[in-house]
């Protein structure tokens, strides 16, 4: 054990040496119970060096507990956590070459910006001159020049966030953990900070793991996203895969808005599925991914992929993939600035939402409530999900 810890400390100073196919971090069957409550339920996950990985999920899904296990604040009851091949599951926080940026920032209120950033370097026994150089480098990195002598309570929220980031980066950890790092910032600042964090991560080539409940934030920043629900990791995918090919109804609904139609499989010709739905009639879907064993299925379609036409225009000419046409009446119009969301009450019984970009300023063609319309989407744009 002692040797292992030494090994980790040495590795902290240098870049990790990994075999080509070895992940930087491997979580293997991690389980954590709090009394009778299972917070993390058998999570296995590989994260490679240089990734910007997001753990996404609703509050209480176990994502923060998983992050705290990586930091060493919680030890898993079962499973292993391998960093560069070493099992660190039982190592104490100060023995790990991993640093964390806390949701509350946890800046030491009695120390100046400089001393906050130097705190971890001093503990590592770095030489005085090296510390000064590293602090200066970090201060420049987060653009806080001139603020070194201030105390945390003399900084704005955005500046505090930068100090917290600089402090966590100063030790050059192999892995940086960010616990809801932007939650305390207002919307505008959050967006610019997202961009800065991404730029920083690319420039440093460091591995970031971020915990967030905000799916837009995860999609914007991360190269890969792990979605958690009730302690389980339910899907790990790139943002695009996650959005366009969610693995379950729950994920489809959690990430973005979606129309779901439940139904039964009627026919499958090896290429196209025909599903008879209760609320929208028969729908045709091109979906090579689904193992067609189950009869009960759902058809999922994102609102922005549902187009509307005036009924009298007769729709578009049929060509290429099959088009699903649903006749109905506009029941609600929600103008959002960049786009407008229409709710259409279908003649078949259900409703469907359609998000249409407002590409021109004066939209004489905008649809009104009670207008008869055809909502249509191609068979390529929808996804079949098991119930």
């Amino acid at each position: 054990m002692a040797d292992e810890r030494e090994g980790i400390k040495v590795a902290a100073a240098a870049k990790p040496h990994l075999a080509a196919d070895q992940p930087l971090l491997r979580i293997d069957g991690a389980v954590k119970d709090f009394g009778a409550f299972r917070a993390v339920d058998g999570v296995s996950l590989d994260i490679g060096a240089g990734e910007f990985f997001a753990l996404l999920g609703p509050s209480g899904c176990g994502k923060t507990t998983l992050l705290r296990m990586l930091a060493g604040f919680e030890a898993p009851d079962q499973g292993r956590i391998l960093l560069g091949g070493n099992d660190i599951a039982q190592a104490l926080p100060h023995e790990r070459p991993i640093n964390m940026m806390f949701q509350s920032y946890a800046l030491f209120p009695h120390l100046s910006v400089r001393d906050n950033i130097a705190f971890g370097l001093r503990r590592a026994g770095m030489a005085r001159g090296d510390i000064a150089a590293r602090v200066a480098e970090m201060v420049a990195l987060v653009k806080l020049e001139g603020m070194e002598k201030r105390k945390p309570d003399q900084l704005s929220g955005g500046q505090r966030q930068r100090v917290a980031l600089a402090r966590a980066l100063a030790r050059r950890p192999q892995l940086l953990l960010l616990d809801e790092p932007l939650a305390a910032l207002d919307k505008k600042l959050r967006e610019s900070t997202q961009a800065e964090l991404m730029e920083l991560q690319r420039r440093l080539g460091m591995t970031f793991i971020i915990v967030t409940h905000d799916q837009e934030e995860a999609m914007t920043m991360a190269t890969r996203i792990g979605v958690m629900d009730a302690g389980k990791l339910v899907q790990v995918a790139t943002p695009r895969q996650l959005y366009e090919a969610p693995r379950s109804r729950w994920i489809a609904q959690f990430v973005g808005d979606i129309n779901l139609f439940e139904g039964e499989l009627q026919s499958y010709d090896g290429h196209r599925l025909t599903i008879v739905t209760r609320d929208a009639g028969p729908l045709v879907v091109v979906e090579p991914r689904v193992p067609v064993g189950k009869a009960k299925l759902s058809v999922a379609i994102r609102p922005e992929k549902v187009k509307l036409s005036r009924r009298e225009s007769g729709g578009h000419a049929d060509q290429g993939p099959a088009i699903n046409r649903l006749e109905g009446t506009v029941s609600d119009v929600c103008y959002l600035g960049g786009s407008t969301t229409y709710t259409v009450k279908l003649d078949a019984g259900g409703t469907v939402q359609s998000a249409i970009a407002n590409t021109v300023r004066r939209d004489a063609d905008a649809y009104g409530v009670n207008q008869r319309v055809v909502a249509w989407f191609t068979s390529n744009d929808c996804v079949v999900l098991e119930q």
């Binding site: 100060h94 806390f102 509350s104 030491f108 309570d153």
Partner: protein, 270 residues
């Protein structure tokens, strides 16, 4: 401004009357300590006569010196023990005997002093301890460490736990995290705890009466025996000096805690 509007006339009146009730008697006492007249209630002009009398009263001075020594010694021991107890209670999670421990710490806060005093005396008698400075100091430490523990524990409880986690994350073991982060942040509460212990010890009559021995009376014991015989102007002077001393302690300590922490955190109350 909106907040001001919430104050009704009734609120203002009750505040003003309440504070006047708390302060007027003390103010009157201080003023009369400068009274030249022997008759306590007849104003005979300003004078320092009774202060001179006090400084010439050997027995009184001796008692005051005894009280000061006891107060400093017991407050210092109580601050160490009380802080340790607060750390154990707020950071120790569950441990064996915890309920008994917190019971022993909170009970003396309200326990009638006659009981605490009597029981400690009986212990000292059974141990055949010579009664005097040390027995009073031990008795006062026992009482005041509980107050220190409460003051420090309330500060520890309001501290963001992620500060300690951040320290560990940045390479501190738990003990170092406590020394480098927690301790500086609770320092104002520790100082406030010491002050509270000091003044409680300086003030105590009942427990000291039980636990002291012949020939080592504390200041309150002497004041008490004088007061029982009636009002003496010299007592006014002594009381004013004690109030002055406590005021100085409070000012110094609050300045010190203000300097040591930029947080603007006011010293924890009782």
């Amino acid at each position: 401004m909106r907040k001001l509007a919430r104050l009704s006339r009734f609120n203002v009146a009750s505040l003003a009357l309440g504070l006047a009730f708390l302060y007027l008697p003390i103010l009157i006492l201080v003023i009369y300590s400068f009274n030249a007249s022997r008759l306590v209630t007849v104003w005979g002009g300003w004078s320092l006569r009774w202060y001179r009398e006090f400084f010439n009263d050997g027995a009184m001075i001796e008692a005051a010196w005894m009280s000061l020594r006891v107060a400093v010694a017991s407050a210092s021991i109580a601050t160490v023990l009380g802080t340790l107890a607060a750390v154990a209670l707020s950071r120790g999670e569950g441990f064996r005997g915890r309920t008994l421990f917190s019971g022993m710490l909170y009970a003396p806060l309200v326990m009638p002093e006659v009981i605490t005093g009597l029981s400690l005396l009986l212990l000292f008698v059974a141990l055949n301890a010579e009664r005097g400075f040390w027995t009073v100091t031990i008795a006062h430490t026992t009482l005041t460490m509980c107050f220190v523990a409460v003051v420090v524990q309330s500060r520890l409880g309001s501290l963001d736990r992620s500060l300690e986690e951040a320290a560990m994350d940045l390479g501190c073991n738990p003990v170092r995290a406590f020394l480098l982060v927690t301790l500086p942040l609770i320092a104002p509460a520790i100082v406030a705890g010491w002050m509270l212990a000091f003044t409680l010890s300086l003030d105590d009559l009942v427990i000291a009466s039980f636990t002291t021995g012949p020939g080592s009376a504390t200041l309150p014991i002497r004041i008490y025996s004088e007061v029982r015989l009636g009002v003496k102007p010299e007592i006014n002077a002594i009381c004013t000096l004690v109030i002055g001393l406590i005021a100085i302690v409070i000012v110094i300590a609050s300045l010190a805690s203000k300097l040591s922490s930029s947080q603007g955190e006011s010293a924890a109350p009782l």
